[in-house]
């Protein structure tokens, strides 16, 4: 089993004709993902390596019945692209775009909640979602993930997600699904959404979460874990040595005053019974031990 996607998920790529869209769209298809169409306004009727391109998401959905969209659109058009997908009936939108203005993102996420409550947005500013051996939507290098479970992975960071997959796969510990929720202040999918889905997923038997400084999503995750989670969780929080008031690469990675610190998040997770590692390698080691003892 997997969460949010599986081997039957049909995907369109918004921005398939751009260099990034083409590169990652074709890579996703090579991985085995059912990439059925592309969308670029004005480029309808053309194709990218045999994948038909449509002018709008609506046309692409009507022609292919796609249920998911991979948004690879520059920051100025990304929020509109997300809403266009939702409006056309897409139920899963994966947006990797980094640099979307915070005001656009907040507006789009709230319009989704109000008008399209059944559409799930993953990201923006994330590596996407991969269920190893089944479906890869986004930019995660497929070869570092290992099919078969039993670990679910959820992370705010792209490269740290790769690092985590690498640590697990090297020890022959597979993953059910790996969700990159992204490093922006207003993500469409939260830690709690993913933890809840992993808790329900029969094949997932343990969860690794990778958080970072800024906001309070990890504290909310700790509350959820404490109240509702039976499966073991291992966590790592990046930015333990980050200076306050400075944005560390991600738009959402900033310690404001006393809030959003790595220590606060680690304490909350510890109190919720989560095994908190001090670096990604240790998180991998702890998880391998847990999986071997399951």
């Amino acid at each position: 089993m997997s969460i949010f996607v599986d081997e039957n998920t049909t995907v369109i790529v918004q921005g398939l004709t751009g260099s990034q869209g083409r590169f990652h769209g074709l890579r996703n298809r090579d991985y085995g993902t059912k990439v059925v169409a592309g969308v670029t306004p004005g480029k309808g009727g053309t194709d990218v390596d045999g994948i038909p391109v449509y002018d709008s998401v609506k046309e692409a959905v009507e022609a292919t019945g796609a249920v998911a969209s991979f948004v690879v659109v520059p920051p100025r058009g990304a929020a509109e692209a997300i809403l266009e997908a939702a409006g056309a009936g897409i139920s899963l939108v994966v947006c990797i775009t980094e640099g979307i203005p915070a005001q656009d993102e907040a507006r789009a996420v709230n319009i989704l909640k109000r008008d399209f409550p059944t559409t799930r947005l993953i990201g923006p500013n994330c590596p996407g979602i991969i269920s190893p051996g089944k479906c890869n939507i986004g930019i995660t290098p497929g070869n570092i993930a290992l099919p078969g479970g039993p670990v679910g992975v959820v992370s705010r960071s792209g490269t740290l997600t790769y690092q985590a997959l690498h640590e697990l796969s090297q020890q022959k510990v597979g993953q059910t699904t790996c969700v990159g929720i992204g490093g922006d202040p207003v993500p469409g999918t939260s830690f709690v959404d993913c933890l809840a889905a992993f808790e329900q997923d029969l094949e997932t038997r343990a969860v690794m979460m990778i958080g970072e400084i800024g906001g309070s999503a990890e504290e909310s995750a700790a509350e959820f874990i404490s109240a509702s989670m039976t499966k073991p969780v291992v966590a790592y929080i990046a930015g333990q040595t980050a200076p306050p008031g400075r944005r560390m690469g991600h738009a959402g990675a900033i310690v404001s005053g006393n809030s959003g610190t790595a220590q606060g998040k680690m304490d909350a997770l510890n109190a919720a019974g989560v095994r908190v590692a001090k670096n990604p390698t240790e998180a991998g080691e702890i998880m391998v031990d847990i999986v071997h003892s399951l």
Binding site: Q103, G183, V186, A217, S220, G249, G252
Partner: protein
């Protein structure tokens, strides 16, 4: 990007938010000229992006040109919590009847905008929230709905703003929200928002944080960007298009991805070292960007060893390797590089580097090993440097 008070006030003016008449000065003479033009008495205010300047003596009232000269001379060049005062804001002094507080920001947990309004202004709002939470009105605003005058009237009434200026204050809040949204701010804060003895509502201070991601639609932000940082390393990084934060340690850091870069700082600290910087070369970095990053780190005189931590996703390890080879040839590297390379095309990358391994370039298999080696090298160089000096 945080704005200086004077920039914040100029930004407020675009959205019809009332501020005092004033001007920015970089010299004593200029301060006096501005004071003469806005009429006395005036307030001379240090422009620093840090709180507590009043207590530090950075805000002074002046009634004559001589007093302006004296205060401006004292304040220019003053150090306030590590920030050197390079600019003054000189404005006509306001007769204050009451001091209030107003701000809009994003409540990340609720994913909604948040108005905070209080009749207890002029002090730190965290203090009010702790000691007198009843006096702080917090109202969520749905970013997909906007903010209306009637919502603003409800808020000012609830906050206990004086009845005769409720309409005026509500209008100011609507304008402030417009500044927040249309002006692409992460934060707009007025503390204090004052009621003058003449019965006018007025922004006596301005704290504005702009959303760097919206730069593309605000060409007018160029002038703010020009004064954004005084750290020469950060200025240089900005020109190179690198995501950089200067720190105090001696291990230079280059990583791809914000999370991996943060994690690299953590691991360096865990093995007993201290990072000189945060530097994320981002996804899809090519050889030229890698060379540029090494050149930047090399120009930091505090750096004693360089740790390059790459996990290739979009970034290809062969490109990173090429960049390092180019830097070895073209940049006079003052410190040795310790490299960890994994992910996309890592094998190809290692092959490219194979002929270049020396005491100037070492490759370690894991992030922890690479960090330990880089920290040890910085420590060795430190003690050697000490012996020579």
């Amino acid at each position: 990007m945080d704005l200086f008070e004077y920039q914040g006030k100029q930004y407020f003016e675009r959205y019809d938010i009332p501020v005092s008449k004033g001007g920015v000065a970089v010299s004593v003479d200029e301060a006096v000229r501005i004071a003469d033009s806005v009429s006395y008495p005036v307030v001379v205010k240090a422009q620093v992006k840090v709180g507590g300047r009043g207590k530090a003596g950075g805000v002074k009232l002046a009634s004559t040109p001589e007093e302006v000269r004296q205060h401006a001379g004292n304040i220019l060049g003053m150090d306030i919590k590590g920030h050197t005062v390079e600019r003054l804001w000189v404005e006509h002094a306001t007769d204050i009847a009451k001091e209030w507080y107003a701000s809009f920001t994003l409540d990340r947990a609720a994913q909604l905008h948040l108005l905070m309004l209080s009749v207890k202004g002029g002090v730190e709002i965290e203090e009010v929230a702790r000691t007198d939470p009843e006096a702080l009105v917090k109202v969520h605003v749905d970013p997909s709905e906007g903010y209306s005058l009637s919502q603003a009237m409800d808020a000012v009434t609830k906050a206990g703003i004086d009845a005769e200026v409720r309409g005026e204050t509500a209008k100011l809040l609507v304008d402030l929200y417009r500044c927040f949204v249309e002006g692409d701010c992460d934060l707009v804060e007025i503390n204090p928002l004052v009621l003058t003895t003449g019965g006018k509502v007025h922004a006596l201070d301005a704290k504005v944080t702009l959303d760097d991601n919206a730069m593309f639609r605000h060409p007018e932000w160029e002038e703010f960007a020009a004064t954004d940082t005084t750290d020469e390393r950060e200025k240089s990084a900005k020109q190179r298009g690198l995501n950089y934060v200067g720190l105090d340690g001696d291990v230079g850091i280059i990583a791809n991805g914000a999370g991996l870069a943060m994690s690299t700082l953590d691991v360096v600290s865990q093995v007993g070292g201290s990072a000189a910087n945060f530097l994320d070369i981002g996804g899809g970095a090519d050889a030229a960007l890698m060379t540029s990053a090494l050149d930047l780190i090399n120009s930091d005189s505090n750096v004693k060893s360089i740790l390059v931590n790459i996990f290739g996703g979009i970034t290809r390890c062969d490109e990173v390797a090429k960049g390092i080879v180019q830097a070895l040839a073209g940049v006079d590297l003052k410190s040795s590089i310790v490299l960890r390379l994994d992910g996309t095309n890592a094998e190809e990358g290692r092959e490219i580097l194979a002929g270049h391994i020396s005491d100037r370039l070492l490759v370690e298999k894991t992030m922890l090993d690479a960090a330990s080696r880089a920290v040890a090298m910085a420590a060795t160089k430190d003690s050697n440097g000490g012996d020579q000096g």
